[in-house]
Amino acid sequence: MTDAALPPAVAPARPATAAIQKRLKARYAREKRFRAYGLIAIGIAVLFLAVLLGSIVKQGYSAFYTHAVTAEVYLDPAVIDASNPGGANYDQLIASQQLAELGVADDERGTRSTAMRALFSPDAGFGLRERVIEDPSLIGQTIEFTAPIGDDADLYFKDDISRDTPQAQRRLSDEQLAWLDRMEQSGAVTSGFNSDFFTRGDSTQPELAGVLGAVIGSALMLLVTGLLAIPIGVGAAVYLEEFARKNRITAFIEVNINNLAAVPSIVYGLLGLAVFINWMHLPRASPLVGGLVLALMSLPTIIIATRSALKAVPPSIREAALAMGASRTQSVFHHVLPLAMPGVMTGAILAMAHALGETAPLLLIGMVSFTPGIPEGLTSPSGALPVLVYIWENASERAFHERTAAAILVLLAFMIVMNLVAIVLRRRFERRW
């Protein structure tokens, strides 16, 4: 049993070791605390994001479906003149037949049929009219027709209008609600995907309003912005970083670029209004002017990002190229810029995403005006997604409320798609190593 005679395996700690050990506990505790702070911060950020997205989705999802009433319509030859099928009042035709179906008699002044007409979208009459003009032989027959309903009726079916609200404070009377209930019970009311929302431009009627015009307007604007801001910004950054002499003038330019990045975007809108519209007489509210303004706004961001990406390229690569006898231009374009490309792309993506969401400057160049159509080119009046959100949010019709949230979702989706494309492009630009 020699082991027992040996001194204990753990030698008495040196005083320094003991002190370090004591501090070690505090050091680990500090590390743990810091990690906990980090987790809390991320948790709060995720929570806010979830609340934000959740509330938008909750408000907006109902805009993606809509209701319609399918009914038998007797195309009464007494109402529709066969020689002029476009001249008849089809809205009234649908409304009066619906009243008859429900067994409600119209009064002399037509109050009830007017109330019934209000339940349908103006598009119902147009749709029926087009069908008759296309095929006049239908006159005198009874056809099955699916009529889109109006925004208020749609909201009622979406449980957005409550009977508990006093009649005077809601857009639909008790009588109209009763009619809607009976229509629903008869199985005439169907709900389906709201394709109009994605295939139409803006409209004063919420049920006819869509985002397509704004999406195309935004896409055209970003095209102009990207084509101008990225090459000019990268070119300016390469020149300033790699070629320009470092003197007072370049220092002055640098300070100004940094300042421009912090200028409020509405100032760019004023500049665009003064220069592009008032002086150059470019068409108001056009994607061309919008793109130009957003390009001006994006330039500082792209220049700053590109310059820092170029600065991050190790000088050994520049030296290697120069020592091989490459000219300055060759060393920049063969080696330095390709290495900086991921950073450049990141800056460009950020700038473009920022440009997509920008509203204030577009309001000033006339995009806040009502543009119902779908833009046909760079110079035709157009809307933009963020401006559409702004316009709809200010609209008085209740149905625009859900559409505002839906438009925000479309804007977010647009941004995600754009960023994905940019990331794929960046991957391709990146060297394989």
């Binding site: 091989m324 006898g325 300055r328 060297r431």
Partner: protein, 296 residues
Amino acid sequence: MTMNPDLVAPSREPRQGDVSALDTDRNPGHAEAPVPTVVHPGLTGPIKIKAEDVSVFYGQKQALFDVSLDIADKAVTAFIGPSGCGKSTFLRCINRMNDTIPSARVVGKITIDGQDITDRSIDPVLLRARVGMVFQKPNPFPKSIFENVAYGPKIHGLTANKTELADRVEHSLKRAGLWKEVADRLESPGTGLSGGQQQRLVIARAIAVEPEVILMDEPCSALDPIATARIEELIDELREEYCIVIVTHSMAQAARVSQRTAFFHLGQLIEVGPTEDIFQNPRERRTLDYITGRFG
């Protein structure tokens, strides 16, 4: 002495310093004059590079003081000295890499084959095609092994077609003793090689443009002893064809690879001579102190 017409071209990178005032009393044919053995002992062959009173300033600070030195062709010349002694600064004058530092100013005259390379009319791009350089840290381009070696011939238009280019790449890699290791993976990244292989790749890249001079700035300081030995062997082989100038912190390396050694201290050339003499029988006290490890 023949002037190389390639070297006389409009300069795209004007030099910062003006040497014309200092050069008025100099004879352009000076390089042909017999070399005074007292000043330039240990020359083993014809003079390739001749430096006369070269000083370098970084802003207000002078880094190199009136260095005059002849460097022989087809031989290895080593520059030794403690850190900051100006040996790398002098090396970078030979291919005018100091031009890329805005605050640097070079005064004096350096000739290669009798032609003044510090002259404004000399295009540094052309000069660097004749004077290759290998840096302290291996710096292959983040491209394939093939692209790394092919880059020089490509930008200088040295090959007419792809086959010629491929031949030249193969020849250069063979010359740098790297071919066997990379022949089957020419398309893989040059940055994926080991440090020693990268440094040989960089040497292959330099010799692919058929330079006359190869400058090496501490080429082995980032390498392990085995890779170092490999590079030293390579330097010894390349000496037969090129004028090689190597800056090194390792005195043992200088003793192994060079025929002639120059000792720099505090921006001055203290002593130059045959390598054996410098290490065994230095004339200057400071040289002795340095090689025996008393400072540096």
